[in-house]
Amino acid sequence: MKILVVDDFSTMRRIVKNLLRELDFTNLDEADDGQTAWPKLKAGGYDFLVTDWNMPGMTGIELLKTVRANPETANMPVLMVTAEQKREQIIEAAQAGVNGYIIKPFTAATLKEKIDKIFARSAG
């Protein structure tokens, strides 16, 4: 399973990657915003996207909408990990087709729970 972690803060990318490694996900790649993430996703080979919302260039919500609009990536599970916690934004992400939504700061347990839920659903 190859995972792309997208966040403009390198420390947060590192933290998410460390936590994913703890959960035995070892095939990890990263990008610092939607603009650098999208060419990677379009090129293929990724199974799961973890993205922040507020990033320069292309935001996470724009990236999510782009992923859903493209037939090759439309079914990819997307987990949003963000400091944005307004109701209208959570609803917007849900309407755009997000599979999970975690607010920062978060715990390793929350990340595990949401990932388990996403894959239990996509397997079932």
């Binding site: 390198s10 420390t11 944005e84 307004k86 209208e88 849900a94 607010i103």
Partner: protein
């Protein structure tokens, strides 16, 4: 008066130009055209210069409030620097911590693995299940383990201290941010004064509301009320499940 002079001068030159064209004197025609276009440019520059001076005077009188001049000229650029430094320091501290952990984890995982292996054999020894040969191997392993433990615990201690030291950023960034908070307060006070002087408090409030739409709020900060924000992951989960998630 000046305009009239300019016009007469231009007319004289125009007559000279017509004459030189009729004479088919190309050299003189070219020269006259050249001087006329230079005159034209000169008057344009004069006009631009005049407008620039006017703009400068207006701006200077606009910024007469000395406090605002100080705030916008020096303090706000300073604050940007400070905040960039905060990002730099927190980035540095987080990486230092993660680097130290990257070095600690393999050591502790290795120690755990070895002690588990030894403990199995030790239990067998206590229940007299170990042959003499196996006991000899085990004592060698125990000696090795004790030696490597000395080295490994030293590494763990050093790296743990590095992690502790890296947390010093909290104190430093806290002080910087406090200064920026004071600055923001000063800017707010000055702007409120300015709005009061301009007597357009209502308009300004309306414009602010418009601008706030669509702005990402970022992390919820204690003491700052954000309308429509959830307070915990549980609330996010409840909201999503109400949407059929």
């Amino acid at each position: 008066m000046q305009d009239e002079c300019d016009r007469l001068e231009l007319l004289a030159k125009a007559k000279q130009l017509v004459e030189s064209i009729e004479r088919k004197d190309d050299a003189s025609t070219g020269e006259l055209l050249g001087t006329m276009s230079i005159d034209r440019e000169r008057s344009l520059f004069k006009e631009v210069g005049h407008l620039t001076r006017q703009l400068h005077d207006n701006l200077s009188s606009f910024a007469l409030d000395e406090q605002l001049v100080g705030l916008t000229g020096k303090d706000i650029p300073d604050a940007k620097e400070r905040l960039n430094y905060v990002i730099e320091m927190t980035d540095d501290a987080a990486h230092k911590t993660l680097n130290a952990i990257d070095e600690i984890l393999p050591v502790t995982i290795d120690m755990q693995k070895k002690s588990e292996e030894l403990s199995v054999n030790w239990k067998r020894f206590l229940s007299r299940d170990l042959s003499l040969e196996e006991f000899k191997v085990m004592s060698g392993e125990i000696s090795q383990f004790l030696e490597s433990s000395c080295v490994n615990t030293k590494i763990v201690n050093e790296k743990t201290n590095e992690i502790v030291l890296a947390q010093g950023y909290q104190d430093l960034t806290g002080q910087i941010i406090k200064k920026v908070i004071t600055l923001v307060q000063n800017v707010e006070d000055s702007l409120v004064d300015l709005i009061r002087i301009a007597g357009s408090e209502d308009d300004a409030a309306g414009e602010q509301k418009e601008e706030e739409k669509g702005v990402l709020e970022g992390p919820v900060v204690p003491g700052v009320v954000v309308e429509g924000a959830v307070n915990s992951q549980d609330e996010v989960d409840d909201l999503l499940s109400s949407l059929g998630f």
